[in-house]
């Protein structure tokens, strides 16, 4: 099956959160970022499913941190946006900006 190269809504939000967080992007901060900035409480399972798809598309890469007792001895998995992911973000922004512009209802020109 051919891989989709465009971003779904959840993928876009998660990729933006990963980009914003930089070196500190793992599951918990990503979910907090989505809650704070997008006002959405997203289940961690959904975030990891989106990250899994983004990794398959080569939009993010991941690396393991050190295990900590606070996490029951489990390591954090840190995600970083790749150049391909950054390119996809820019393309999505350009496409969305084009779609948003010139809509009278959204610009308040229409009642």
């Amino acid at each position: 099956m051919a891989k989709r190269s465009y971003l779904g809504e959840m993928e876009l939000m998660v990729l933006l959160a990963v980009t914003r967080l930089g070196d500190e992007a793992y599951g918990v901060p990503i979910s907090k970022e989505l809650l704070t900035l997008a006002g959405r409480e997203v289940a961690l399972g959904s975030i990891y499913a989106a990250l899994d798809r983004l990794e398959e598309k080569d939009f993010v890469s991941s690396s393991l941190g050190d295990p900590t007792p606070q996490r029951g001895g489990r390591a954090k998995r840190y995600f970083r946006v790749t150049p391909t992911g950054l390119r996809a973000l820019k393309m999505t922004r350009a496409a969305l900006t084009n779609l948003w512009s010139g809509v009278p209802v959204l610009e308040g020109k229409h009642s």
Binding site: G27, L44, S46, Y48, P67, Q70, R74, A75, K76, R77
Partner: protein
Amino acid sequence: MSSDKSQPPRLAIWCLRHAAPGRHNDALTGDLIEQFRDGRTHGWFWRQVFIAVTISILREIWRHWPHFGYAIVGTALSWFFWDAPALRRVPAWLHWNELPWPWSQIALELSRPGHPNYRQLVIPVELVLLLSFLTFLVAAWLGCRLPSQRRSANARPAL
């Protein structure tokens, strides 16, 4: 289950480990434990596990959709050819000897002819459908797995 409030439910972690396998399973479990120890409730933990397991199952079905498609079509066709007139009036319960093979054989082998309920053993039709579906699913899984194993065995260099 532990009553310690800092300990997440063990059964939930077990479910997560076994029902939602994946390369990020450990990281996800660690994140959930970290959040739980940060003040989340048992209910929250269980809800997160339920969502993760559901997503994992749906992803597995999506990844292996040819297997599931084969199982669904196979079950439907076997029912149609097995006893087409019965489809007009599908009984709610079936006797074990009406099960499709190999389940009828298994039921026969496991049953004891001397037992008083030997002749009365009946099975709900939903279970029969499920068993048929599982048979086709396993057949599809084996059909896809065995050739790839043979290929990898052939590709292994001789020592």
